[in-house]
């Protein structure tokens, strides 16, 4: 889409997420100033004072590129997603929450009622529960107050509206953000629906550590803090689950260089439908036993299975689909 | 069977066990425990009225638990003697049997077990064999699949006096099987269970097949075999007869039986070796031809009668070819399958043979036993001088030494079996053993270590076990180092610590201290006396930092020729591994200590003279060389 000579209009919106993706944009630092000359930011509520009415006032498709980060948790998120879809030519699922549901997506382990019960009644930090509960409409002398309603299921952006591009990462690394800006300005955008701001390879391809050899099967899975981690040896060889084999490269391996195993925030490589199931299949092949009882103890050594396999992709997984399709 | 009970000279004592045996050939004292039947043997005439009214049923060992017997009953209708007995654990004391017995009043619950000592000249052991329990072979499913039965169960099912009066039925539904499979070598010729061939089960399988074929001509009978063994007269013809009757024979040892859960029919998976194809055939019933194994209580009988076992648990004969009916213990003879798996003709023959061997002893007015007994030198015994000792009495397995402080110890010659334990235990060398005196053994040690002792392995072996083991090593041509020099004593208990010290004082390269395995000792506890002394020697040499392996303690039976050769070769390897000078330096270093420990040996009568003679002998031996 060749740009008219006027600067392309960018929009950023922050739905159900931690806001880290917004901060990554600010991390561009001085490059943000250069961007300022090339790009016209028309909507960025987190950074500058913009109101929803400003967006509604725009013509449909007026925004050239909308970077939408955050999952869809409440009715407000959904409304804004639909609104920005209408108002933007290109909608980018910016960051893991929009792309796969990320940490907020883990709420799909529970349902709305048990979450509210926990937060408003039984959480230890509460002195004594006042039995309050958020309701969408409450009448007060001054009039009616509307607050967004709390959905049962956390959805990804693509499960709510049609998404043009996906940019993984929790958060996406700042250099990749700059690469995407350059890509957009250069106009050579890849076909619709593809993943931008990441490589086709996996982290194992680029990871410098010494790989496993035969005979290194695992007798007991250990968590990172339970092992004196060797910085030069693959984590799997040390009995620690690393998501590297099933995760797209592009992040520059900040975790692995920090001597921590990869947790899979850059999403699955090409051709993988359910990232968690694939990792589970890989883990199961590493066990080292020919005794049924020992198999039991090896399996018990994996703590929080869903958290381990679907830390970032639960909302996008078939598990979520199976849970919510029924209702 | 019956004429055994009627024979005037044969006193049949059933429901009786041997508790203890003492004494020696010609003069055994046997303690018998006649278990109480709670029925008076003099009054019961075997009418069976009591069994009719008894309400309680218990499993019957005779019927292999396929059929019950009453709490008061006989094992089988043709029992000899036909006297009933009560299984008190099951009896509910309803006393209906007492009423049924009426005025005979043969039932008496107050009868106790009777303990009786019997004076006996010769003993024939004929305790027979037992059957391998195939339930430890999951692949054949015995115990899980109802229609898989053992050969003995087939015997009872086929037997007209058996639980089904001879009607062969499938346990699962009581119908007559149309297709029967017999599997040979179940538990036999199998390294996982019993490596031996059980001798008679090929013929046994063919017999059962013929019996079944005669009773049910249209039944399809198949025998799975590896090799059919028909060694004796008339056996191969019997095998031909089976083939003529249309019994199928498939060469191929089945690996597996699976069962159809609904019909309980069985599928036998085997290879037809003749064709090289895997075959799976359906049968209504499978008979497992189980192996012959020693009786489960063979260890108890072994220790009570003080007879040893060959590998596998069969009682060991004095010599497999020359004296198969004699046990190593004089006056105790072996007959039948307890000595090794054999069929009925061989068992009967060996029974008569054992009787003949026993007759040799019993018809002699008196019997000669070797005069290798112990003799006390009263003047040297400290107990005579009032000191407290009695070590010799403590060491004697047969308490043949009467000891009283203040009087010299006294050996009861008749009770002494000649193990020599007392001689070696006596710290004051106040006791000697005829034909194995200290002087004689010392002279032998000096002769054996006359030339280049540091290269020699002096091996002390006991006559009954390790000497036999050394013989077997030779018979089997197991090669071992020719630096070994053997010395024979009656028991490891006789191997005095002074001999070992003397050998090392002379500069022996290595010394082997070898005897029977604990349960095999010919002198009951002789081995234990030797073993504890060996333990003390090991610790002493360890403290002296002697190179480990130069003094070695090994228990080797007469059946372990390969072990004897291996031990000697290992000791030779130890010697080879020590550099010559280092060995000589160690010998010189330890010589004074050995001298000190063997000093009391000098005081033994004739030892001085023995050393004198030895010096002459060595001069002649070495002189001849130089």
């Amino acid at each position: 889409m060749a740009e008219s000579n006027t600067k392309p209009k960018f929009a950023f919106y922050w739905a159900a997420s931690c806001g880290g993706c917004e901060i990554t944009v600010t991390e561009l630092g001085m490059r943000l100033v250069d961007a300022g000359d090339l790009v016209d930011i028309v909507f960025w509520p987190c950074a500058m004072d913009f109101k929803y009415e400003d967006v509604e006032a725009m013509a449909d498709g007026e925004i050239d590129f909308c970077f939408f980060n955050g999952a869809i948790r409440t009715s407000e998120n959904e409304d804004l997603a639909k609104l920005l879809r209408r108002k933007s030519k290109v909608l980018v699922a910016f960051g893991s929450c929009a792309h796969e549901g990320c940490i907020p997506g883990l709420a799909n382990l529970y349902d709305a009622e048990s979450i509210l019960e926990r937060v408003y009644n039984t959480v230890p930090s509460l002195d004594e529960s006042r039995g309050t509960r958020p309701v969408p409409l409450s009448k007060v002398p001054e009039g009616e107050i509307h607050i967004p309603s709390f959905y049962d299921q956390v959805k990804t952006l693509a499960q709510t509206v049609d998404v043009d591009y996906f940019m993984p990462g929790c958060p996406p690394v700042v250099d990749q953000v700059w690469n995407v800006f350059q890509l957009i300005l250069s106009g050579q955008l890849p076909p619709k629906g593809s993943v931008i701001g990441a490589d086709a390879k996996t982290n194992c391809d680029v990871c410098p550590r010494q790989k496993v050899q035969s005979g290194m099967r695992i007798k007991e899975f250990k968590r990172p803090h339970e092992v004196e981690l060797d910085p030069d040896l693959c984590f799997l060889a040390q009995g620690v689950i690393c998501y590297g084999p099933a995760t797209r490269a592009g992040c520059g391996l900040p975790c692995i260089q920090g001597n921590m195993p990869c947790r899979g925030c850059y999403g699955p490589p090409e051709g993988v439908v359910d990232q968690g199931a694939k990792l589970l299949s890989a883990i199961a092949a590493l066990i080292d036993t020919d005794e049924p009882e020992e198999l039991q103890s090896i399996m018990d050594s994996i703590v929080d299975l869903v958290g381990t396999c679907y830390r970032f992709s639960l909302a996008d997984s078939i598990l979520s689909e199976l849970k919510y399709k029924k209702r | 069977m019956v004429d055994a009970a009627r024979h005037p000279k044969v006193d049949v004592r059933t429901y009786t066990e041997v508790e203890r045996v003492e004494g020696y050939v010609g003069n055994f004292k046997v303690l018998l425990r006649e278990k109480s039947r709670y029925v008076r043997t003099d009054r019961c005439n075997g009418c069976g009225e009591c069994a009719k009214v008894c309400p309680i049923e218990v499993p019957n060992y005779f019927e292999l638990n396929l059929a019950p017997r009453k709490a008061i009953d006989v094992a089988m209708s043709q029992s000899v003697p036909l006297i009933y007995n009560i299984d008190l654990d099951a009896c509910i004391h309803c006393y209906k049997c007492v009423e049924a017995c009426g005025k005979l009043e043969a039932i008496d619950f107050s009868i106790e077990d009777k303990l009786v000592w019997e004076d006996i000249g010769a003993i024939v052991v004929a305790t027979g064999f037992s059957h391998f329990d195939p339930s430890v072979m999951p692949e054949y499913g015995y115990g899980r699949y109802p229609n898989v039965i053992t050969a003995m169960e087939m015997e009872r099912l086929n037997n007209s006096a058996g639980p089904t009066a001879g009607n062969l039925i499938r346990p699962s539904d009581g119908t007559n099987p149309k297709r029967l499979a017999i599997i040979n070598c179940v538990g036999s010729r199998d390294k996982r269970f019993n490596p031996w061939c059980s001798n008679f089960c090929c013929m046994y399988a063919i017999k059962n097949a013929i019996l079944v074929k005669q009773a049910y001509p249209d039944m399809d009978v198949t025998i799975y075999y590896m090799d059919i063994r028909t060694p004796s007269k008339g056996y191969e013809e019997f095998y031909d007869r089976a083939r003529e009757m249309g019994i199928h024979f498939i060469q191929g040892r089945p690996s597996l039986i699976t069962e159809d859960p609904e019909t309980h029919n069985l599928f036998v998976h085997s290879e037809d070796v003749a064709l090289g194809h895997v075959i799976e055939r359906e049968y209504d019933m499978v008979m497992l031809n189980q192996a012959a194994v020693p009786q489960p209580d063979v260890d108890t009988v072994s220790s009570v009668l003080n007879i040893t076992q060959s590998p596998g648990g069969w009682f060991m004969e004095y010599h497999p070819k020359l004296r198969p009916m004699d046990s190593p213990t004089d006056g105790v003879f072996l007959a039948g399958a307890c000595q090794g798996q054999k069929d009925i003709p061989a068992s009967v023959a060996q029974g008569s043979a054992a009787a003949a061997r026993a007759g040799r002893v019993l018809h002699a007015d008196e019997w000669e036993i070797e005069p290798v007994v112990a003799v006390v030198w009263e003047d040297r015994c400290v107990s005579a001088k009032g000191k407290k000792c009695g070590l010799c009495a403590k060491a004697c397995p047969y308490n043949a030494i009467e000891y009283e402080q203040g009087k010299a110890a006294h050996v009861v010659t008749a009770k002494c079996h000649g193990c020599g334990g007392c001689v070696a235990e006596c710290p004051h060398n106040a006791i000697t053993q005829m034909h194995f005196t200290d002087a004689q053994i010392l002279a032998q040690i000096h002769a054996l270590l006359a030339e280049k002792p540091e290269e020699k392995i002096l091996a002390f072996r006991c006559h009954w076990c390790s000497y036999g083991g050394a013989d077997l090593a030779g018979v089997s041509h197991f090669e071992y180092s020719s630096n070994e020099r053997g010395l024979r004593v009656m028991c490891s208990a006789r191997m005095d610590a002074d001999f070992i010290y003397e050998a090392f004082r002379l500069g022996a390269g290595a010394v082997l201290y070898s005897g029977c395995h604990p349960q095999d000792c010919h002198y009951i506890t002789g081995q234990r006396v030797g073993a504890s002394r060996a333990e003390r020697l090991l610790k002493a040499f360890e403290k002296m930092e002697m190179t480990p392996g130069r003094f070695r303690v090994e228990w080797i039976s007469a059946a372990e020729g390969d072990k004897y050769a291996r031990v000697i070769n290992e000791m030779q390897a130890v010697l080879d591994s020590i550099p010559k000078e280092k060995l000589m330096e160690e010998i010189e270093r330890l010589r004074p200590e050995m001298e000190r420990r063997a000093r009391r040996l000098r005081e033994v009568p004739q030892v001085e003279e023995a050393l004198g003679y030895s010096r002459q002998l060595e001069a002649a031996m070495v002189g001849k060389e130089a």
Partner: protein, 317 residues
Amino acid sequence: MNHQPETFADQVRAIPGGEHLEMCYSCGTCVSKCLIQQKVEPEYNPRRLLRMVMMDMREEAFQSPTTWLCSACDLCYPACPQQIHISGVIGAIKQLAIEAGYESPLETVTVDESLCSGCGICVLACPYEAPHLVEKEIAGEMDRVSEVDANKCMGCGICVAACPLGAIARKGVSNEEIVRQIKVKRQKKGVPRLVTFVCDWCLRADDDVSLLESYPDNVRVIHIPCSGRIDPQMALLALRSGIDGVLVCGCAPGECHYKRGTYVSSCKITLLNRMFEQMSIGDGRVRFVQIGTQDRGRIRREVDAMLEYLAAWKEAR
């Protein structure tokens, strides 16, 4: 023992695992316990192969299918009355055959080097240590990829399931070919739709195998070389597509034809069910059963039980 010229048997005995072959008294137990002759290759016969070694028939032994098809599952080893480690002897013969230049006739896996990221998971997954990592030049630049020793690979597919990228595959049982079969026609109300994965080796009796085909079209049977070949994603895809239940049948522990497939598969399905529990959608619709070589007729009980359970489950919803 005087030293004769080195015979073929001596060479086999010299290789660790090859000892004791002369103890074999040709009873045939191993031949019938092993399933390969019955299910794959009529010429397969370990007893004959050992005989060939003892009779110095080198070439015949190297060309015999027994040398190449034995998957060292050791089903025969505990059954052998002479306690010969038969797969050890066959392994030694195979090693000599490879040294003599013979090759395995088996359908083995191949690696797509453009996809492979060199993570090494297939190296650990393989029971036969066929794949190993090598540094190679691919498309102009040095890369680390997995390379499979075709003589060691038995074609079980455990590595194919383990590879996160699907970079390793075997003709006939690739991921696409299996996923394509996961289809069950729509059924009348209340009739459960079931997919059953069955490994080639857990049903000894032929009539158990034919019985499986006799089920109506609401039961779809998918044959796989080893239960370790399926991966949890296939079960999820089945459930997502509206199929009510997935039953995976593998060998009993210690009887797996490819040594460890049944443990790997048991681990996958158990962990998958634990995840369903964690998501509180644990309703037992994915089940793994280990069928023993003596469990004749059990497959029928397992499938009927599963159909009954699924029917009740559908009823409840």
